[in-house]
């Protein structure tokens, strides 16, 4: 029997100290999220909003980061998920869990259908078609006032208690925990997914589709699968938005929303999942804190940060951690006798 090679060399060759460090790194965002619940007081809803955007950006990471599908239409699934959750609560039932599942299914199905129509193209053609997709759906949302309320937004949502017990209250505690749990579930799924043979094949398609075809990979089917999964996940973020605010605006379907979530992801760093956490949080916090001085000032700051990140940190703000760790490792080595 030959010596089994390690499937994850980093984990087996890492020193105990760095393993502890990495464990802390993984626990940190969740500890912050749990801690925020107890200290936030009146600004808890900001945390809910940030987690919704994290989930949305993380779903974009699956298509844009891992599979290399450059899309500007991802807001279509976010918005459709939000409207689906909203309409479900108005016309069918107020139960948020069932409404959430409904939204995930609707946006996932929409992802598969629209993906099947456009994924045979690549590059600029594909980009234009995603743009067309989101524009068509936006315009439909605008015109179909009887269904969506048009540019007034969808009003009159009734959101019942979760599991029939936890009411959405004015302080937003239920919404916060609800968003945190949903985010955590999707994170676990994504974490497992990107390390799977399926996830590795997507990463291979991003790097070299010709190579993947030469080993027998059905490239189109793989891309369609992740497009549908990411659409369902974006729809889940949309459902969280609808349930936590009891309102769905037309802007959730807009091209600008696609742009914002892309900026968040690039800012935080693609292909790391946690990049979405950092990107969305920084974006939201910068927006929230600088908008007080001037309504345009925060766009200036975010734009500057994006330029600096793209120019100096290839892997987004997540690279700061890597650079810090390398610095620490050098410091430890020079410290050793």
């Amino acid at each position: 029997m030959m010596a089994a090679p390690s499937t994850d060399t980093a984990a087996t060759t890492a020193s105990p100290a760095s393993r502890v460090l990495s464990l802390i790194g993984h626990a940190l965002p969740w500890l912050i999220a749990i801690g925020f619940y107890f200290v936030a007081g009146g600004s808890l809803s900001i945390g809910t909003q940030i987690m919704i955007w994290i989930l949305f950006a993380m779903s974009l990471d699956l298509v844009l980061g891992y599979a290399g599908i450059v899309t500007l239409g991802h807001a279509a699934f976010f918005g459709v998920g939000a409207y689906a959750a909203g309409l479900f609560s108005i016309h069918f039932m107020s139960d948020p869990i069932l409404g959430h599942i409904f939204a995930v299914v609707v946006s996932g199905v929409l992802g598969v259908i629209s993906g099947a129509l456009i994924l045979h193209t690549t590059g600029v053609t594909f980009l234009m078609l995603t743009l067309a997709t989101v524009s068509i759906i936006y315009e439909y949302g605008n015109q179909a006032r009887w269904l969506t309320g048009g540019d007034d937004g969808l009003q009159g949502m009734k959101v019942g208690p979760i599991f029939g017990t936890f009411e959405f209250n004015i302080f937003g505690q239920t919404a916060y925990v609800y968003a945190l749990v949903v985010l955590f579930i999707w994170f676990l799924i994504s974490w497992r997914l990107v390390k799977s043979p399926f996830g590795r094949s997507l990463d291979g398609i991003r790097q070299n589709p010709r190579r993947m075809r030469a080993i027998g990979t059905p490239v189109w089917w793989r891309l369609l699968a992740i497009y549908g999964i990411a659409a369902a996940m974006a729809g889940s973020a949309g459902a969280l938005l609808a349930h936590s605010t009891r309102f769905v605006g037309l802007s959730s379907l807009s091209l600008l929303t696609s742009g914002i979530v892309t900026v968040m992801l690039i800012l935080g760093g693609t292909r790391k999942l946690y990049g979405a956490f950092i990107g969305a949080a920084i974006y939201y916090l910068v927006q929230d804190s600088t908008a007080k001085f001037s309504p345009y000032f925060w766009e200036f700051i975010v734009g500057g940060m994006l330029i600096a990140t793209v120019l100096f940190l290839e892997g987004g703000l997540m690279d700061l951690g890597r650079i810090g760790r390398r610095f620490l490792a050098r410091f430890q080595r020079s410290d050793a006798p």
Binding site: M2, A4, L193, P197, G199, I215, G216
Partner: protein, 253 residues
């Protein structure tokens, strides 16, 4: 050439033209199981076109391609691979950001139909990694299994190309200039690997290095302007006046 049914690969009357330019004209080729056939011809003779027709990146205008008796000319490239037709590329076509072992393991996962697994995959992926490691050891590059492909010397990248194709356990293997661009001091490693390829795989090799092709191939097919000019044992091809004329009086051996 008589028993089509036992051929690993059988090409019948293959034609392809781009407008007025004929790139493949009535090509007939048979590879018996374990065959070692060399494909030579001057630049522009249609060698790479022929490989693209076999692998499915080009559609033939007419003709049939039988892989172990089954027609594959209408199949997509990835389906032909799944049926047992693998190739290496003239220019390295690798996952440069991945480590060497994963390049092979991903191909094995695809072969074993593990590549759709999203949630439960740990033992399967470990098996893929172990098999990849064993294959790399056979090829003499297990020591760089944990290195990123882009850090690898060119010659070892060529070996990895072959390793990936072999990991698919093909019935027919197309080697498109396996030693192209490899510095002389590393070339012997490629030659050793070629000599030790499994004897049950039918192999078609395209190569400009005549030394390699005359040592490796039991039969040589000479292609010129999309058609088969002549074919035969290496000793016969080496002295063929027509072949010599094609290569402009250059000594073939």
């Amino acid at each position: 050439m008589s028993e089509t049914s036992t051929s690993a690969l059988s090409v019948r009357g293959l034609n392809k033209s781009f407008g007025a330019l004929v790139v493949a004209q009535d090509i007939n080729i048979d590879l018996a199981p374990g065959a070692r056939v060399g494909l030579i011809g001057p630049n522009g003779a249609g060698k790479t076109t022929f490989v693209n027709l076999l692998t499915g990146f080009l559609k033939p205008d007419s003709g049939t391609i039988l892989l172990e008796g089954a027609p594959i000319q209408d199949m997509k490239p990835e389906m032909r691979v799944r049926r047992g037709l693998a190739r290496t590329h003239q220019i390295n076509t690798l996952l440069r950001e991945d480590i060497v072992r994963d390049n092979v393991a991903i191909a094995i996962a695809e072969r074993e139909n593990y590549a759709w697994r999203m949630m439960r995959y740990t033992p399967q992926w470990r098996r893929c990694s172990e098999e990849a490691h064993a294959l790399l050891r056979d090829m003499g590059i297990a020591d760089v299994g944990d290195r990123q492909v882009r850090e690898l010397p060119y010659g070892q990248q060529r070996l990895l190309e072959i390793a990936i194709a072999l990991s698919l356990k093909p019935r027919v293997l197309l080697l498109d200039e396996p030693a192209a661009g490899v510095p002389a001091e590393e070339a012997h490693r490629i030659h050793d690997v070629l000599a030790r390829l499994p004897s049950d795989i039918a192999i078609l090799i395209i190569e400009h290095d005549m030394e390699v092709i005359f040592r490796f191939a039991k039969e040589i097919i000479v292609l010129l302007q999309g058609r088969v000019l002549t074919r035969g044992a290496p000793a016969k091809i080496a002295v063929d006046p027509e072949v010599r004329a094609v290569y402009l009086g250059r000594t073939v051996v």
